[in-house]
Protein backbone atom coordinates (compact mmCIF):
# COMPACT_ATOMS: atom_id res chain seq x y z
CA UNK A 1 0.00 0.00 0.00
CA UNK A 2 1.53 3.22 -1.11
CA UNK A 3 0.32 5.26 1.83
CA UNK A 4 1.54 2.85 4.45
CA UNK A 5 4.53 3.40 6.63
CA UNK A 6 7.50 1.07 6.31
CA UNK A 7 10.13 1.40 8.99
CA UNK A 8 12.73 -0.26 6.79
CA UNK A 9 15.89 -2.17 7.59
CA UNK A 10 17.98 0.58 9.17
CA UNK A 11 15.80 0.84 12.21
CA UNK A 12 15.66 -2.92 12.51
CA UNK A 13 19.43 -3.15 12.82
CA UNK A 14 19.08 -0.39 15.39
CA UNK A 15 17.27 -2.95 17.49
CA UNK A 16 20.51 -4.80 18.18
CA UNK A 17 19.68 -5.20 21.85
CA UNK A 18 16.85 -7.46 20.82
CA UNK A 19 18.99 -9.78 18.68
CA UNK A 20 19.13 -13.41 19.71
CA UNK A 21 22.13 -15.76 19.74
CA UNK A 22 21.43 -17.06 16.24
CA UNK A 23 21.28 -13.53 14.89
CA UNK A 24 24.56 -12.54 16.54
CA UNK A 25 26.18 -15.70 15.21
CA UNK A 26 25.03 -14.77 11.72
CA UNK A 27 26.33 -11.20 12.03
CA UNK A 28 29.69 -12.29 13.46
CA UNK A 29 30.07 -14.95 10.78
CA UNK A 30 29.43 -12.44 8.01
CA UNK A 31 31.73 -9.89 9.60
CA UNK A 32 34.58 -12.33 10.18
CA UNK A 33 34.13 -13.70 6.68
CA UNK A 34 34.58 -10.26 5.13
CA UNK A 35 37.57 -9.54 7.37
CA UNK A 36 39.20 -12.77 6.22
CA UNK A 37 38.55 -11.87 2.57
CA UNK A 38 40.17 -8.49 3.22
CA UNK A 39 43.11 -10.15 4.94
CA UNK A 40 43.66 -12.50 1.99
CA UNK A 41 44.12 -9.50 -0.32
CA UNK A 42 46.59 -7.96 2.16
CA UNK A 43 48.37 -11.30 2.41
CA UNK A 44 48.71 -11.51 -1.38
CA UNK A 45 50.00 -7.92 -1.47
CA UNK A 46 52.69 -8.70 1.12
CA UNK A 47 53.70 -11.94 -0.58
CA UNK A 48 53.90 -10.22 -3.95
CA UNK A 49 56.80 -8.07 -2.70
CA UNK A 50 58.87 -11.25 -3.10
CA UNK A 51 58.56 -10.89 -6.86
CA UNK A 52 60.90 -7.89 -6.73
CA UNK A 53 63.53 -9.78 -4.72
CA UNK A 54 64.22 -11.60 -1.49
CA UNK A 55 65.45 -8.50 0.31
CA UNK A 56 62.34 -6.52 -0.49
CA UNK A 57 60.20 -9.28 0.96
CA UNK A 58 62.35 -9.57 4.10
CA UNK A 59 62.33 -5.81 4.61
CA UNK A 60 58.56 -5.68 4.23
CA UNK A 61 58.00 -8.48 6.74
CA UNK A 62 60.48 -7.05 9.23
CA UNK A 63 59.02 -3.58 8.83
CA UNK A 64 55.50 -4.81 9.47
CA UNK A 65 56.44 -7.06 12.38
CA UNK A 66 58.29 -4.22 14.11
CA UNK A 67 55.02 -2.30 14.41
CA UNK A 68 53.00 -2.88 17.56
CA UNK A 69 49.76 -2.20 15.73
CA UNK A 70 50.50 -5.02 13.28
CA UNK A 71 51.14 -7.45 16.16
CA UNK A 72 47.83 -6.45 17.73
CA UNK A 73 46.06 -6.81 14.41
CA UNK A 74 47.50 -10.31 14.12
CA UNK A 75 45.89 -11.21 17.43
CA UNK A 76 42.64 -9.81 16.05
CA UNK A 77 43.09 -11.83 12.88
CA UNK A 78 43.52 -14.99 14.91
CA UNK A 79 40.33 -14.18 16.82
CA UNK A 80 38.44 -13.63 13.59
CA UNK A 81 39.77 -16.81 11.99
CA UNK A 82 39.14 -19.01 15.03
CA UNK A 83 35.58 -17.76 15.50
CA UNK A 84 34.83 -18.17 11.79
CA UNK A 85 36.12 -21.75 11.82
CA UNK A 86 34.27 -22.72 15.00
CA UNK A 87 31.03 -21.13 13.87
CA UNK A 88 31.49 -22.79 10.49
CA UNK A 89 31.63 -26.16 12.24
CA UNK A 90 28.56 -25.15 14.24
CA UNK A 91 26.74 -24.32 11.00
CA UNK A 92 27.78 -27.66 9.56
CA UNK A 93 26.06 -29.39 12.46
CA UNK A 94 23.03 -27.15 11.97
CA UNK A 95 22.94 -28.11 8.28
CA UNK A 96 23.03 -31.76 9.26
CA UNK A 97 20.23 -31.20 11.75
CA UNK A 98 22.40 -32.09 14.73
CA UNK A 99 22.07 -30.27 18.04
CA UNK A 100 19.63 -27.68 16.71
CA UNK A 101 18.17 -27.21 20.16
CA UNK A 102 21.62 -26.23 21.44
CA UNK A 103 22.46 -23.83 18.64
CA UNK A 104 22.64 -20.87 21.03
CA UNK A 105 24.86 -22.74 23.48
CA UNK A 106 27.21 -23.79 20.69
CA UNK A 107 27.47 -20.14 19.63
CA UNK A 108 28.41 -19.09 23.15
CA UNK A 109 30.86 -22.00 23.31
CA UNK A 110 32.46 -20.77 20.05
CA UNK A 111 32.92 -17.33 21.62
CA UNK A 112 34.44 -18.74 24.79
CA UNK A 113 36.84 -21.07 22.95
CA UNK A 114 37.83 -18.20 20.66
CA UNK A 115 38.53 -16.02 23.69
CA UNK A 116 40.65 -18.70 25.38
CA UNK A 117 42.71 -19.39 22.25
CA UNK A 118 43.27 -15.69 21.60
CA UNK A 119 44.33 -15.01 25.18
CA UNK A 120 46.72 -17.97 25.07
CA UNK A 121 48.24 -16.65 21.83
CA UNK A 122 48.96 -13.16 23.08
CA UNK A 123 52.45 -13.92 24.53
CA UNK A 124 53.51 -15.49 21.23
CA UNK A 125 52.19 -12.70 19.02
CA UNK A 126 53.47 -9.84 21.13
CA UNK A 127 56.85 -11.38 21.96
CA UNK A 128 59.59 -8.82 21.34
CA UNK A 129 57.15 -6.15 20.25
CA UNK A 130 57.93 -3.90 23.21
Amino acid sequence: MSQSYNRGLVEDFGRWREFTAGMWAWIFHKFTGWVLVGYLFTHIAVLSTATTGANAYTDTIQGLESLLVVRIMEVGLLAVAVFHILNGVRLLFVDLGLGLESQDKSFYASLVVTGVIVLASIPTFLEGAF
Binding site: S4, T20, L91, V94, D95, L96
Partner: protein, 298 residues
Protein backbone atom coordinates in the same frame (compact mmCIF):
# COMPACT_ATOMS: atom_id res chain seq x y z
CA UNK B 1 -17.88 -5.95 22.90
CA UNK B 2 -14.44 -5.47 24.21
CA UNK B 3 -15.45 -3.71 27.41
CA UNK B 4 -16.42 -7.14 28.60
CA UNK B 5 -12.82 -8.02 29.22
CA UNK B 6 -12.28 -6.22 32.49
CA UNK B 7 -15.86 -6.82 33.47
CA UNK B 8 -15.68 -10.53 32.81
CA UNK B 9 -12.71 -10.81 35.08
CA UNK B 10 -14.36 -8.59 37.57
CA UNK B 11 -17.43 -10.78 37.49
CA UNK B 12 -15.46 -13.93 38.03
CA UNK B 13 -13.81 -12.46 41.09
CA UNK B 14 -17.09 -11.06 42.27
CA UNK B 15 -18.54 -14.50 41.82
CA UNK B 16 -16.03 -15.88 44.25
CA UNK B 17 -16.98 -13.29 46.80
CA UNK B 18 -20.67 -13.92 46.26
CA UNK B 19 -20.09 -17.65 46.55
CA UNK B 20 -18.56 -17.08 49.93
CA UNK B 21 -21.57 -15.00 50.94
CA UNK B 22 -23.85 -17.66 49.55
CA UNK B 23 -22.24 -20.35 51.62
CA UNK B 24 -22.79 -18.21 54.66
CA UNK B 25 -26.44 -17.77 53.74
CA UNK B 26 -26.93 -21.48 53.24
CA UNK B 27 -25.84 -22.03 56.76
CA UNK B 28 -28.47 -19.49 57.83
CA UNK B 29 -31.14 -21.42 55.97
CA UNK B 30 -31.87 -19.13 52.97
CA UNK B 31 -33.41 -20.91 49.96
CA UNK B 32 -31.20 -21.79 46.96
CA UNK B 33 -33.33 -19.69 44.56
CA UNK B 34 -32.94 -16.61 46.76
CA UNK B 35 -29.24 -17.13 46.93
CA UNK B 36 -28.94 -17.40 43.13
CA UNK B 37 -31.02 -14.25 42.69
CA UNK B 38 -28.90 -12.36 45.19
CA UNK B 39 -25.80 -13.57 43.40
CA UNK B 40 -27.04 -12.32 40.03
CA UNK B 41 -28.05 -8.98 41.56
CA UNK B 42 -24.63 -8.59 43.09
CA UNK B 43 -23.00 -9.32 39.78
CA UNK B 44 -25.22 -6.85 37.98
CA UNK B 45 -24.44 -4.13 40.51
CA UNK B 46 -20.78 -4.78 40.09
CA UNK B 47 -21.09 -4.62 36.27
CA UNK B 48 -22.94 -1.33 36.37
CA UNK B 49 -20.42 0.27 38.70
CA UNK B 50 -17.70 -0.74 36.22
CA UNK B 51 -15.06 -1.04 38.91
CA UNK B 52 -12.34 -3.29 37.45
CA UNK B 53 -10.99 -6.26 39.36
CA UNK B 54 -7.59 -4.68 39.57
CA UNK B 55 -4.60 -5.88 41.45
CA UNK B 56 -4.72 -3.41 44.28
CA UNK B 57 -3.80 0.04 43.12
CA UNK B 58 -1.31 -1.19 40.53
CA UNK B 59 -1.26 0.01 36.98
CA UNK B 60 1.29 -0.14 34.20
CA UNK B 61 2.29 1.98 31.23
CA UNK B 62 1.28 0.71 27.81
CA UNK B 63 3.20 2.35 24.99
CA UNK B 64 1.43 1.81 21.71
CA UNK B 65 2.63 2.63 18.20
CA UNK B 66 0.24 4.96 16.45
CA UNK B 67 0.03 5.85 12.78
CA UNK B 68 -2.84 6.80 10.54
CA UNK B 69 -2.07 7.74 6.95
CA UNK B 70 -5.58 9.04 6.36
CA UNK B 71 -5.82 11.58 9.14
CA UNK B 72 -3.85 14.77 9.02
CA UNK B 73 -1.80 15.17 12.16
CA UNK B 74 -1.56 11.41 12.68
CA UNK B 75 0.52 10.62 9.63
CA UNK B 76 3.74 10.97 11.57
CA UNK B 77 4.32 7.74 13.50
CA UNK B 78 4.35 8.20 17.27
CA UNK B 79 3.83 6.33 20.52
CA UNK B 80 0.85 6.91 22.79
CA UNK B 81 1.00 6.06 26.48
CA UNK B 82 -1.91 4.52 28.30
CA UNK B 83 -2.16 3.81 32.03
CA UNK B 84 -3.82 0.42 32.35
CA UNK B 85 -4.87 -1.09 35.69
CA UNK B 86 -3.16 -4.40 36.30
CA UNK B 87 -5.46 -7.36 36.48
CA UNK B 88 -4.70 -10.91 37.33
CA UNK B 89 -4.11 -12.95 34.16
CA UNK B 90 -4.20 -9.87 31.96
CA UNK B 91 -2.77 -10.30 28.49
CA UNK B 92 -1.41 -7.65 26.14
CA UNK B 93 -4.56 -8.01 24.07
CA UNK B 94 -6.68 -7.36 27.16
CA UNK B 95 -4.62 -4.25 27.84
CA UNK B 96 -5.05 -3.02 24.27
CA UNK B 97 -8.77 -3.59 24.43
CA UNK B 98 -8.89 -1.71 27.73
CA UNK B 99 -6.94 1.20 26.22
CA UNK B 100 -9.16 1.28 23.17
CA UNK B 101 -12.41 1.18 25.13
CA UNK B 102 -11.45 3.54 27.95
CA UNK B 103 -9.14 6.02 26.28
CA UNK B 104 -9.10 6.06 22.49
CA UNK B 105 -11.63 4.28 20.34
CA UNK B 106 -9.56 4.92 17.23
CA UNK B 107 -6.79 2.60 18.44
CA UNK B 108 -6.72 -0.11 15.78
CA UNK B 109 -5.51 -3.70 16.01
CA UNK B 110 -6.60 -7.13 14.85
CA UNK B 111 -7.83 -9.84 17.19
CA UNK B 112 -10.26 -12.67 17.12
CA UNK B 113 -10.19 -15.96 19.02
CA UNK B 114 -8.18 -14.80 22.06
CA UNK B 115 -6.74 -18.27 22.56
CA UNK B 116 -3.67 -18.37 20.31
CA UNK B 117 -5.44 -20.25 17.55
CA UNK B 118 -6.43 -17.69 14.94
CA UNK B 119 -3.07 -15.92 14.66
CA UNK B 120 -4.59 -12.52 14.01
CA UNK B 121 -3.00 -10.59 16.88
CA UNK B 122 0.69 -11.16 16.22
CA UNK B 123 2.44 -7.99 17.40
CA UNK B 124 5.89 -6.72 18.21
CA UNK B 125 5.79 -6.63 22.00
CA UNK B 126 8.81 -5.49 23.99
CA UNK B 127 11.14 -6.18 21.10
CA UNK B 128 9.84 -9.56 20.09
CA UNK B 129 7.14 -10.98 17.86
CA UNK B 130 4.42 -12.46 20.08
CA UNK B 131 0.69 -13.11 20.11
CA UNK B 132 -1.09 -10.40 22.09
CA UNK B 133 -3.60 -12.89 23.50
CA UNK B 134 -0.88 -15.31 24.61
CA UNK B 135 1.44 -12.82 26.28
CA UNK B 136 0.86 -12.15 29.95
CA UNK B 137 1.50 -8.62 31.17
CA UNK B 138 3.07 -10.10 34.30
CA UNK B 139 5.80 -11.67 32.14
CA UNK B 140 6.85 -8.36 30.61
CA UNK B 141 9.04 -5.51 31.71
CA UNK B 142 7.43 -2.10 31.96
CA UNK B 143 6.56 -0.04 30.08
CA UNK B 144 4.96 -2.57 27.77
CA UNK B 145 5.82 -1.42 24.28
CA UNK B 146 3.51 -2.61 21.51
CA UNK B 147 4.31 -2.12 17.84
CA UNK B 148 3.09 -3.60 14.57
CA UNK B 149 5.03 -6.52 13.10
CA UNK B 150 8.33 -5.29 11.63
CA UNK B 151 9.17 -5.69 7.95
CA UNK B 152 5.58 -5.33 6.90
CA UNK B 153 3.77 -2.27 5.71
CA UNK B 154 1.68 -0.63 8.40
CA UNK B 155 -1.87 0.08 7.35
CA UNK B 156 -2.96 1.78 10.55
CA UNK B 157 -1.70 1.71 14.15
CA UNK B 158 -0.95 -1.97 14.86
CA UNK B 159 -2.47 -3.36 11.68
CA UNK B 160 -0.03 -4.50 8.99
CA UNK B 161 -0.62 -5.48 5.40
CA UNK B 162 -0.47 -9.31 5.31
CA UNK B 163 -1.01 -9.62 1.55
CA UNK B 164 2.57 -10.53 0.72
CA UNK B 165 2.68 -13.10 3.53
CA UNK B 166 -0.45 -14.79 2.23
CA UNK B 167 0.92 -14.72 -1.33
CA UNK B 168 4.03 -16.57 -0.17
CA UNK B 169 1.92 -19.09 1.72
CA UNK B 170 -0.24 -19.78 -1.31
CA UNK B 171 2.84 -20.07 -3.53
CA UNK B 172 3.72 -23.43 -1.97
CA UNK B 173 0.35 -24.98 -2.76
CA UNK B 174 -0.70 -25.39 0.87
CA UNK B 175 -3.23 -28.14 0.33
CA UNK B 176 -3.23 -31.92 0.31
CA UNK B 177 -2.66 -33.45 -3.14
CA UNK B 178 -2.66 -37.24 -3.01
CA UNK B 179 -1.76 -39.19 -6.12
CA UNK B 180 -4.68 -41.55 -5.80
CA UNK B 181 -7.87 -41.82 -3.81
CA UNK B 182 -8.52 -44.62 -1.31
CA UNK B 183 -10.36 -47.65 -2.72
CA UNK B 184 -13.66 -47.24 -0.91
CA UNK B 185 -15.91 -44.21 -1.45
CA UNK B 186 -15.87 -43.04 2.14
CA UNK B 187 -12.58 -44.56 3.17
CA UNK B 188 -10.23 -42.23 5.00
CA UNK B 189 -6.69 -41.48 3.92
CA UNK B 190 -4.48 -43.58 6.17
CA UNK B 191 -1.23 -42.29 7.55
CA UNK B 192 1.18 -44.17 9.78
CA UNK B 193 1.54 -43.04 13.35
CA UNK B 194 5.25 -42.38 12.78
CA UNK B 195 4.53 -40.16 9.81
CA UNK B 196 1.93 -38.25 11.75
CA UNK B 197 4.46 -37.69 14.53
CA UNK B 198 6.99 -36.44 12.00
CA UNK B 199 4.74 -33.73 10.60
CA UNK B 200 2.80 -33.04 13.80
CA UNK B 201 4.59 -29.84 14.78
CA UNK B 202 4.49 -28.43 11.25
CA UNK B 203 0.70 -28.72 11.20
CA UNK B 204 0.40 -26.32 14.13
CA UNK B 205 1.06 -23.21 12.03
CA UNK B 206 -1.63 -20.55 12.55
CA UNK B 207 -0.46 -18.19 9.79
CA UNK B 208 0.23 -15.39 12.24
CA UNK B 209 3.27 -14.15 10.32
CA UNK B 210 5.49 -13.72 13.38
CA UNK B 211 8.25 -15.88 11.88
CA UNK B 212 8.24 -14.01 8.59
CA UNK B 213 8.42 -10.72 10.46
CA UNK B 214 11.38 -11.87 12.55
CA UNK B 215 13.35 -13.15 9.56
CA UNK B 216 16.05 -10.75 8.53
CA UNK B 217 16.55 -12.54 5.23
CA UNK B 218 12.87 -12.28 4.33
CA UNK B 219 13.07 -8.58 5.13
CA UNK B 220 15.84 -8.12 2.60
CA UNK B 221 14.53 -10.47 -0.07
CA UNK B 222 10.93 -9.97 -1.03
CA UNK B 223 10.94 -13.13 -3.11
CA UNK B 224 12.10 -15.40 -0.29
CA UNK B 225 9.28 -17.77 0.55
CA UNK B 226 9.90 -17.38 4.26
CA UNK B 227 9.75 -19.77 7.20
CA UNK B 228 5.98 -20.13 7.38
CA UNK B 229 5.57 -21.03 3.71
CA UNK B 230 8.50 -23.45 3.81
CA UNK B 231 7.09 -25.04 6.93
CA UNK B 232 3.80 -25.46 5.12
CA UNK B 233 5.63 -27.09 2.21
CA UNK B 234 7.41 -29.35 4.70
CA UNK B 235 4.08 -30.38 6.18
CA UNK B 236 2.96 -31.76 2.80
CA UNK B 237 6.33 -32.85 1.36
CA UNK B 238 6.84 -35.11 4.38
CA UNK B 239 3.31 -36.46 4.28
CA UNK B 240 3.69 -40.00 2.96
CA UNK B 241 0.18 -40.00 1.52
CA UNK B 242 1.02 -37.52 -1.22
CA UNK B 243 3.39 -39.92 -2.98
CA UNK B 244 6.85 -39.62 -4.47
CA UNK B 245 5.95 -37.57 -7.56
CA UNK B 246 4.26 -34.89 -5.51
CA UNK B 247 7.12 -34.85 -3.04
CA UNK B 248 9.53 -34.31 -5.93
CA UNK B 249 7.36 -31.47 -7.20
CA UNK B 250 7.29 -29.85 -3.77
CA UNK B 251 11.04 -30.19 -3.38
CA UNK B 252 11.52 -28.58 -6.78
CA UNK B 253 9.50 -25.60 -5.57
CA UNK B 254 11.68 -25.42 -2.46
CA UNK B 255 15.01 -26.08 -4.18
CA UNK B 256 15.30 -22.56 -5.57
CA UNK B 257 17.46 -19.55 -4.85
CA UNK B 258 14.55 -17.87 -3.08
CA UNK B 259 13.36 -21.11 -1.53
CA UNK B 260 15.08 -23.05 1.22
CA UNK B 261 18.56 -21.92 0.18
CA UNK B 262 17.89 -18.35 1.27
CA UNK B 263 17.62 -19.45 4.89
CA UNK B 264 20.78 -18.52 6.74
CA UNK B 265 19.92 -20.24 10.01
CA UNK B 266 19.51 -17.22 12.22
CA UNK B 267 16.90 -19.16 14.22
CA UNK B 268 14.82 -15.99 14.63
CA UNK B 269 11.72 -17.72 13.29
CA UNK B 270 12.10 -20.67 15.65
CA UNK B 271 12.63 -18.35 18.58
CA UNK B 272 9.47 -16.33 18.05
CA UNK B 273 7.04 -18.99 16.83
CA UNK B 274 4.09 -18.89 19.27
CA UNK B 275 3.28 -22.51 18.50
CA UNK B 276 6.84 -23.75 19.12
CA UNK B 277 7.28 -25.11 15.62
CA UNK B 278 10.95 -25.96 14.95
CA UNK B 279 10.95 -23.95 11.73
CA UNK B 280 14.69 -23.83 11.15
CA UNK B 281 14.88 -27.58 11.65
CA UNK B 282 12.20 -28.10 9.01
CA UNK B 283 13.94 -25.77 6.57
CA UNK B 284 17.25 -27.58 7.08
CA UNK B 285 15.60 -30.93 6.54
CA UNK B 286 14.12 -29.74 3.26
CA UNK B 287 17.58 -28.55 2.23
CA UNK B 288 18.95 -32.01 2.86
CA UNK B 289 16.05 -33.59 0.99
CA UNK B 290 16.70 -31.26 -1.95
CA UNK B 291 20.37 -32.24 -1.99
CA UNK B 292 19.52 -35.93 -1.81
CA UNK B 293 17.14 -35.53 -4.71
CA UNK B 294 19.83 -33.94 -6.86
CA UNK B 295 22.76 -36.15 -5.85
CA UNK B 296 23.47 -38.79 -8.44
CA UNK B 297 26.56 -40.95 -8.40
CA UNK B 298 26.00 -42.69 -11.68
Amino acid sequence: MSTQVPEEKEQSETEQEVNAETEAEISEGASYGDQRRDQRDAQRRQSVSGAPADIEGESFRLKVFRYDPEVEGKMEPRFDDFAVPKQKGMTVLDALIYARDRYDTTLTFRHSCRQAVCGSDALFINGRQRLGCQTQISDLEEPVRVEPLPHQDVVKDLVVDMEHFYDQMHAVEPFFQPEEDPDGDLEEYRQTRENREKIKMSTRCIWCGACMSSCNIAAGDNQYLGPAAINKAYRFAMDEREGENMKEHRLNVMDQEHGVWRCQTQFSCTNVCPKDIPLTEHIQELKREAVKQNLKFW
